[in-house]
């Protein structure tokens, strides 16, 4: 038997030393733990459909250079922090200096703050299931830590623009940590974009801890180019009566992988997870979500939609784990999928694991095509076939798009969707 391939040690060489000692130490520890890390294969259950899409060349092991400038000037209606190749560009960033909310790069932290952060990083994720999150911890060169004091409210959305400049092969490791104090509120928009054409990997980790009553909205826009393998993880831990809302909008690529793990650790916590994925050509997108109902009286609501056309492939794996003490849990998971061509593939797998006896738990998954009857109805009114297709496809996801609470993001999503429709539905 052939030995399982392991991650090349070249991938365990971090760049950039401008970090406080505790973070450098954490990086080193994680790197050491990843020596001989087996790469996922078809037999790795949670990478079953995506392992063949993972193509890590030696050239990609190198950290993409820190350019020191932003690749594209994005106007955003709010505060923004710009990262290029995983390193923050202060000149391109604009955010307020507030008493009750601190926004700092990792390099700005005091020794004590860095020690505290080092203990918290990776704590929101089940690291056994997201090994690439460990790679991020072994490789990050910079990062953003956002701390909201109790009752602090960020009055505008904070955009974090993560761009990679793929003028040469390499990798980038963006990292975000958000600590939301009791009853604090923040809307955080993560935008992942790229320039350049060389094959690169973007390996992201974003973590949230929500104290009692905190209210966090996270919008994640994955819009990297066709040369970018994107492997991201988001971890969330929620205390009593906190609320986490997520909107993941994904556009396909050679490899797109996002793991979203939410832990409802105290009573009254609730999360709402929305996701939309569109893939075309030979693109691939794989969403894995896990909701851990650990405490009683928590609610989770999850709605994901995939649309795949041409020969593309979308994957949804949604796991809900209701622990023994999580009585009166209310969990609702719904995944609907739309195949626009016979060559496209969608795999969906809802997983429910329930150990409490007094819970409400529902799940549903469907895969279908555009409804011929509806299409006929629309064209019978003179609506061009292409437009009828667009109307019906948009109808499939519109319910989720309209829920995105930031108008500028909705506009960006519409623009990208129109590009998708232009290619998916040629005029007939």
């Amino acid at each position: 038997m052939k030995p399982a391939p392991t991650l090349s040690t070249a991938f365990l060489q971090p760049a950039g030393q401008a970090l406080p000692a505790p973070l450098l130490e954490l990086r080193k520890q994680r790197g050491a733990a990843l020596v001989d890390m087996p790469l996922p294969t078809r037999k790795t259950e949670n990478w079953k459909y995506s392992s063949k899409r993972l193509k890590l060349t030696e050239e990609m092991a190198i950290s993409l250079p820190t350019t020191g400038k932003a690749g594209s000037a994005l106007a955003v209606p709010g505060y923004k922090v710009v990262f290029t190749n995983g390193v923050m560009i202060p000149e391109a960033s604009e955010y307020p200096d507030l008493d009750d909310i601190s926004i700092q790069r990792f390099g700005e932290l005091s020794e004590a703050q860095a020690r505290d952060l080092a203990e918290r990083l990776d704590s929101t994720l089940d690291m056994k299931t997201v090994q690439f999150a460990g790679l991020n911890t072994a490789r990050f060169e910079d990062g953003l830590v956002i701390r909201l004091n109790p009752n602090a409210v960020l009055d505008q959305p904070l955009f974090i623009i993560n761009e990679v400049t793929a003028d040469a092969s390499g990798s980038a490791f963006p990292r975000i940590y958000v600590d939301a104090g009791a009853n604090s509120q923040i809307t955080l928009v993560e935008e992942y974009i790229s320039s350049g054409q060389e094959p690169v990997m973007v390996n992201t980790v974003t973590e949230f801890t929500l104290a009692e009553g905190a209210n966090v909205t996270n919008i994640r826009l994955c819009m990297d180019g066709e040369n970018v393998q994107h492997i991201g993880a988001t971890g969330v831990r929620q205390q009593r009566n906190s609320r986490f809302e997520s909107h993941c909008m994904g556009f396909g690529g050679p490899l797109r992988r996002h793991d979203l793990q939410v832990r409802l650790e105290e009573q009254g916590a609730e999360c709402k997870l929305n996701g939309v994925v569109v893939t075309q050509g030979t693109q691939h997108y794989d969403n894995h979500t896990t909701i851990e109902h650990i405490a009683a009286n928590c609610d989770s609501e999850e709605t994901y939609r995939n649309i795949a056309t041409d020969k593309s492939h979308a994957v949804f794996n949604g796991r809900i784990h209701i622990h023994q003490d999580a009585q009166k849990s209310n969990a609702n998971m719904n995944n609907k999928n739309l195949l626009l061509t016979t060559g496209a593939e969608i795999d969906t797998k809802p997983e429910l694991e329930i150990y409490a006896d007094d819970v409400k738990c529902a799940h549903g998954a469907t895969i279908g095509q555009l409804d011929e009857e509806s299409l006929f109805y629309l064209v019978s009114r003179g609506i061009p076939r292409r437009e009828a297709n667009v109307l019906l496809t948009m109808a499939f996801i519109n319910e989720l798009v309209v829920q995105i609470p930031v108008e500028a993001v909705r506009e960006t999503v519409h623009t990208r969707l129109n590009q998708f429709f232009d290619q998916a539905f040629q005029e007939v």
Partner: protein, 258 residues
């Protein structure tokens, strides 16, 4: 305006239409009656271009053109309108978006400027009153959660918005109470004009009390077996279909089905 000659159509190898001949001139209202399964709805669907049905023989000339050669959307742009027997529900597409797209597709075809949102809303509000639909329905999904009667009124509303030259009404009266029947009939009567033809498919003569046809045809087993004036409908009401040699059970089934 519409000339149907020896039209044959099948679905999955079963022949439903077995040689239909029909001439409809501008300004005329024709009623097509007949028991269930006689092919009435198939005729309506074939004219609108539903490719579930395969036309195996015959021709249909509409305003001088071969209708069967045209795609559904082109037929609509040339003025063919089908009021569906079972209008589909399309959640996620609002009635307003749907109707405005349709109106503008036709205007575009005619070389007219598109209607902006405000102009469209003004027109849509007026027409919705005409068919007694609360304008709030415009914001809802197409036919989503509509009662049977609301769906039928929505079909007539679309006809009034799109002003077709040939309106085909497929069982537009089924499932309507007396009040709704009156509203729908008033809408259809508002469509009557010298340059427009109306083809009504119906089981029941009661619709014809409100919309008086110029001609009545009886369809049975895929063929028109009898044609006449509106008195034919009254005769059918009195005597049923059996005197025309249509099986009694077929007719009974037809009158009990709704």
């Amino acid at each position: 305006m519409l000339s149907i000659k020896n039209l044959h159509a099948s679905v999955e190898g079963n022949e439903i239409l077995k040689g239909i001949d029909l001439e409809v001139k501008a300004g005329e209202v024709h009623a097509i009656m007949g028991p269930n399964g006689s092919g009435k709805s198939t005729l309506a669907q074939v004219l609108a271009g539903n490719d579930t049905f395969e036309v195996t023989a015959g021709e249909v000339i509409f305003s001088g053109d071969d209708l069967l050669e045209k795609k559904t959307e082109d037929r609509a742009r040339d003025g063919v309108f089908l009021a569906f027997q079972y209008p589909v529900e399309i959640p996620g597409v609002s009635n307003m978006q749907f109707m405005r797209t349709a109106v503008n597709a036709l205007r575009h075809h005619r070389g007219e400027p598109e209607m902006n949102a405000a102009e469209f809303m003004k027109l849509a509000r007026e027409v919705s009153k005409q068919v007694d639909l609360d304008p709030a329905f415009l914001k809802r999904g197409v036919n989503e959660g509509f009662s049977g009667g609301e769906k039928k009124r929505n079909e007539i509303m679309q006809a009034l918005m799109l002003q077709p030259s040939l309106a085909i009404l497929d069982e537009t009266d089924s499932g309507l109470d007396i009040d709704a029947l009156k509203v729908v009939s008033d809408g259809v009567n508002a469509l009557r004009s010298e340059d427009r033809a109306i083809l009504m498919v119906t089981h029941y003569q009661r619709l014809l009390d409100h919309i008086v046809p110029d001609f009545v045809h009886v369809l049975a087993d895929g063929k028109i077996v009898k044609s006449g004036g509106r008195e034919l409908a009254l005769e059918l009401e009195e005597r049923g279909y059996s005197w025309l040699g249509i099986a009694e059970d077929e007719a009974t089934e037809a009158s009990s089905a709704n």
